[in-house]
Subunit: 217 residues, 2 copies
DNA sequence: GTCTATAAATAGATAGAC
DNA sequence: GTCTATCTATTTATAGAC
C-alpha cells in the first residue's frame, strides 16, 4: 500500500512534467519563447504555474528541455548515416526522411527550429549546441563519403543542410499560417506531405550528384 | 524663412520616422515582435519613445510598416516576371535574384520572414496579406507560362516557392546564429552569398525543368 | 513634433501552507 | 509534489507640458 502510493505519486509527477513539456512545446512553436507565457503554458497543461518552476526551474529550463529533445531525436536518427554502407544518395534521402520523421512525431519541431534560426542563438542553451553541431557533422561526413566514392560533387555541407531544412521547415512550419492566408484558395493550399518530401529529395540530389559523365566540376 | 523652417521641420520629422523604422526593423529581426521592446527601439533610434506612438500609432503599427515595405519590395520586383517574354527558366532565376536583392537591401528581411512563417500569421496585418499573396500568384503565373511553353513540368507553386525561400531565408537569416555556433569552424561557416544563390537556382530548376526527352511526367 | 512623467497591465518568479 | 498568494520588474501606452 505504501509502495502503491509511492508508485502512483511517481506516475503523477511524471505525468505533470510531461503535460508541461507538451504544453510548452506547443506554445513555444505557436508564439515563440518571448510570446509564450508561463501562465498559459501551465493552464494548457492543466496544472499549477508553480509546477513549471518545480519541474523545469524556469521558463528557459522548459524551453531547453524541448530543444534538447528535438535535436537529440534528429541526431540519433541520422548518426549512422555518415558511415553507413551502400549508396550515398540513398543515405542522403534517408537523412531527409529522418528529419521528416522527427517533425512528424513532434508537430512543434518545425516552427521552433525556424524561430531558433532567426534568433541569433539567443535562446539556445550551451548544452544543446553540440547536439546541433553533431547533426551538421553527420551530414558533412555523409557528403565526404559520397565524394570519395565518386557519386557526389564537392558541395558545401551547409548549403546542402540549408537546402534540406529550409524547404522542409518552411513547408511544415508554415502550415498554420497557410491555412489562414490561403483559406480562399484550397487548390493552392493543398499539398501532400509525401509530395513535399519527394520534392526536397529531388532538389537536394540535383545539387550534390556528380555529373554522370564523370567530371566533378 | 517661414517656408524654410517648415521644410526643415518636415525633414526632421521624416528623419525621426526613418530612424524609428530602421531601429524597429533591426530589433524585430533580431528578437521578434514580442522580444523587441519599444524602449530599446526608441533608444536605438536615438529618439524619444513617445515618438514611436506619434509616428506609427503602436508597436504593431511600426511592425506592419516594416512588413509592408519588405513584401512590397519583392512584389514590385517580381511582378513583371509572370508575363515576361523569353525563357521561363531565366525568369525563374530572375525571381530568385529579385528575392536575393530585396534581402540584400534589407538585412532584417530574412529573419523577419522566417519568424512570420512560424507565427501563424498572428502579427500579419490584413493589409499585408494581399501583397504576400501577389508574390505567390506571380510565381504561379510564371510556372504556368513555363508549362504552356513546354519548358516546365507540372509542379505545385507552393513547393517551388518554399524550395526557393526556404534555403534563401534560412541561409541569410541564420547568419548571426552561424557566427556563434560555428565560431570554431571557420571553414564550415565560410559561404559566399553568390554560391548560395547559385545553389538555390540549381535546386529549383532541377525540380521544375521538363525532362529534355520531352515527356512532362 | 518632441519630451517628461506616469498610468495600467502583465510578465516571470518565489515563499510558504498543505 | 502541489497549490495559493504575492512580490518585483518590465511592458505597452498615454496625458500633458513645451
Amino acid at each position: 500500500m505504501k509502495a502503491g502510493r509511492k508508485r502512483r505519486r511517481r506516475r503523477d509527477s511524471a505525468a505533470t512534467r510531461q503535460a508541461l513539456f507538451a504544453a510548452g512545446a506547443t506554445a513555444f512553436a505557436a508564439r515563440g519563447f518571448d510570446g509564450a507565457g508561463v501562465d498559459e503554458i501551465a493552464a494548457a497543461a492543466g496544472v499549477n504555474k508553480a509546477m513549471l518552476y518545480y519541474h523545469f526551474k524556469s521558463k528557459r529550463g522548459l524551453y531547453t528541455a524541448v530543444l534538447a529533445d528535438m535535436f537529440s531525436a534528429v541526431a540519433d536518427r541520422v548518426a549512422p548515416l555518415a558511415t553507413a554502407p551502400g549508396d550515398p544518395a540513398a543515405s542522403l534521402e534517408a537523412f531527409v526522411d529522418a528529419l521528416a520523421d522527427a517533425c512528424r512525431e513532434r508537430p512543434h519541431f518545425p516552427a521552433i527550429w525556424l524561430r531558433e534560426l532567426a534568433d541569433e542563438g539567443r535562446h539556445l542553451d550551451a548544452s544543446v549546441v553540440p547536439i546541433v553541431r553533431g547533426i551538421l557533422d553527420t551530414l558533412a561526413g555523409l557528403l565526404a563519403r559520397g565524394r570519395r566514392e565518386g557519386r557526389f560533387r564537392e558541395v558545401h555541407p551547409l548549403l546542402v543542410q540549408f537546402g534540406i531544412i529550409g524547404p522542409l521547415l518552411v513547408y511544415l512550419g508554415s502550415a498554420p499560417a497557410r491555412r489562414r492566408l490561403l483559406a480562399d484558395a484550397p487548390q493552392l493550399a493543398a499539398i501532400d506531405d509525401e509530395m513535399a518530401f519527394a520534392h526536397v529529395k529531388v532538389a537536394t540530389l540535383a545539387t550534390v550528384l556528380a555529373d554522370p559523365a564523370g567530371d566533378t566540376q
